[in-house]
């Protein structure tokens, strides 16, 4: 049994790759592909009459595979199904890092899951509070309740929008440029930032449309997402490259930090860099950028 480090709420999650828990031949190599997180799916990827089999597969996949530094999240079935309670028992007993709550619509949903997770941690001798949570928002109500959802539990590390179900309930189609999802993405991002948790965009299903995929990823980045759900290893590289700070951003951040260190020694709090006025929030952001750059492997220095 391979022991796993304690799950961290705040870690790199540029890519969260969906995988079928019943395909161990693919899962065992998940960490080679280099995705930051993987999501083992008990929900949509598993047929209704195979939910029990998927759990057995999942339990053993959690206990026997070495995932390296890749985080392991499990998507459990919705709270309107008869499966989610046993899913939670299996996931916690198996030692996954976290749970993705599908079709989450309210703080009540989160608290219900949290209650069962705690009970399972006690039942199976897992450190209480170890298992972290994220919410998948798939409906208008879920998006509207985003802030209460992400603040409903200290275990919550982020929220994601699930485009397929969401678009259906909004009576819209996929549109180039993403305007049909604009309001929802924006609202979710506001909620996540206000709550200090992470925010992830929906997956892009058409693996062969690289141009469309790349356009969406760049928009995700510009809007401020922390990461994106992906469905194929082919999508990993571009997301990682796009979400890593650019050389230009890193250079500017370094400049800010260096100047801050100098000015702080001289007792100055607000001044100009490159003709722009900068103050404390700029420096905090600069530090965040350098930390992200380091985690992405594109920055080696020690500022």
């Amino acid at each position: 049994m391979i022991s796993r480090p304690k799950p961290q709420k705040n870690r790199l999650r540029r890519t969260m790759m969906f995988m079928n828990a019943q395909k161990p031949g693919l899962i065992k190599d998940a960490y080679i592909y280099g995705s930051d997180s993987i999501i083992l799916d008990l929900e949509d990827a598993v047929a209704e009459n195979q939910k029990d089999a998927a759990r057995f597969s999942l339990y053993h996949a959690l206990k026997n595979i070495d995932y390296g530094n890749t985080e392991v999240i499990v998507r459990i079935n919705g709270l309107d199904t008869p499966h989610w309670q046993e899913d939670i028992r299996c996931v916690v007993a198996g030692g996954a890092d976290g749970i993705r709550i599908a079709k989450c619509e309210s703080a009540k949903d989160v608290k219900l899951v949290e209650e069962h997770v705690l009970a399972a941690e006690r039942e199976f001798g897992v450190e209480e509070g170890r298992t972290i949570l994220m919410a998948a928002l798939e409906s208008p109500l879920g998006i509207m309740n985003a802030y209460e959802i992400v603040t409903a539990s200290p275990r919550m590390f982020g929220c994601a929008i699930s485009g397929g179900d969401f678009r259906k309930s909004m009576h819209v189609q996929i549109v180039k440029g993403g305007i049909e999802m604009l309001a929802a993405r924006g609202q979710m991002l506001l909620a996540a930032r206000a709550a200090g948790v992470q925010c992830f965009d929906t997956m892009f299903p058409n693996i062969d449309d690289m141009d469309g995929f790349q356009a969406e990823v760049m928009q995700n980045r510009e809007m401020g997402f922390d990461g994106k759900s992906i469905v194929s290893p082919k999508q990993i590289r571009f997301v990682h490259e796009t979400f890593a700070p650019t050389k230009k951003e890193i250079a500017y951040a370094e400049k800010l930090i260096r100047s801050f260190n100098e000015q702080a020694d001289a007792g100055v709090g607000v001044y100009t860099v490159d003709g722009k006025m900068v103050d404390i929030p700029f420096f905090e952001d600069a530090r965040r950028i350098l930390a992200l750059a380091k985690a992405c492997g594109v920055y080696e220095e020690n500022l």
Binding site: G25, D29, I32, Y33, P233, K234, I236, R237
Partner: protein
Amino acid sequence: MINAVGREIPDELLEDGQEVYQGKFYMDGKYVKKDSPRTKRYEKPLESKLCESIREACEKCGAHDGMTFSFHSDFRNGDYVASMVAKVLVEEMGLKDLTIAATSLGSAQDIIADYIEAGKVIGIQTSGVRGRIGEVISAGKLKTPAVIRSHGGRPRAIEAGEVHIDIAFLAASTSDYYGNAKGTGGKNNCGSMGFAVPDSHYADHVVVITDTLVDFPNLPATISSIDVDCVCIVDSVGDPKKIATLEARMTDNPRELMMAENVANIIASTPYFKDGYSFQTGVGGPSLAVNSFLEKHMVERNITMGFALGGMGSAICKLQDKGLVKKLLDTQDFDLGAIEHLATHPEHNEICTSQYANPSNKGAYVNKLDFVVLAALEIDTKFNVNVITGSDGVLRGAPGGHPDTAAGSKCCIIVTPLVRGRMATVCKDVVTVTTPGDCVDVLVTDYGIAVNPLRSDLIACLDKAGIAHVTIESLMEKAYSLVGTPDDLEWEDQAIAIVEARDGTILDVVRKIKPLQLD
């Protein structure tokens, strides 16, 4: 007797001067008296050599029980000719006790498996044993042990007289009525016909079989009319869809791309990667991807490839068109783009298997190779490679040019996933040795890179370039930790195939597998 790669070779195979493998350049410097064919003199002028049917050609060439006949495999999986001829000999003419000496055999020749089972074909000499033929030989149905040779070992054996071909049946895309034949200009083109050339010089009789008759003289020609007895026209020499693909595509599998990128980085770290370097091309798996990653390094360092050697696809032809490769030395073509390119580009040259890889001539082109990137079914902790038997012990692959290029090149890199399903690629001992470990330099897997300890110079190159590597033992342990340590296969005594090293010594023997019986 135990040979230099630790394999037990039965003494009964070591008669008539047959030796066991004793190291990669054991035969260097020795002399050989070449064999020669017994050919008919056609002094009286013939208007044409065209025959009404394949049968007529066979009768004219004295086809008889117990003879050895040969084919070439430049038409690959689309070839019709080998099966057509075998059918005529066995079913129409009722011949038996036949030995087939082909450059390779695969599923396109499945019908020969029937003839083996019926006892009509009693000997097989080949590189590839894919498809039913491999299964049937593994089941012990062939009366004499099959002889497996590399692309370079075959012409060596033919020239030395170890294989004497009675009739060579050579499929060609075009021929004139006199027998000048080649692989371009017809209905079904294969491009290079390099595999067929040694047969045309050493067989007692040569029959050219084509579906496109062209005007005399069909020059320049790969097969020369002075070596040809008969010419037959058939409807089709092969299935165009299976002879060559539209365009051999590079993999987009992220795992294979990752390994290919690592291979390119390793190549670029060696001192052999300089202007004018040479590279063995192929079309399998990551080979095309390696070329595409190398392109970046070549442009960065302003390096061009001196020559590319081996099987050609559109990708390498395009590199030549871009001016990044000077010459292409072509033994076979994989896609239509390459076939067309061969016919038109002046520096894209056809070569035969002897020029390519024969170890007993005065210097084959593999001796000038810098890099070769190869796949493997298995590789063991001594870097011995197996490309012929699956880990279930059944014949299913082909050495091809593997042993030749590994021996001749300065840097031989094997690239393969660590496990395939529940089969460990990196293992303790390979089931069959087809390329000895002293010819294999680097292993690249999806779980790490290992360098043969014999190459401390390459270890230093990788270290200097910051390319991490591990021991091959640790890769084996990782493989077994994923799939479980397999039980050893059990074998009967009967040897069903002999694997010859390229120099003609015996490298290994494949026995009949004893299936596991659970009580």
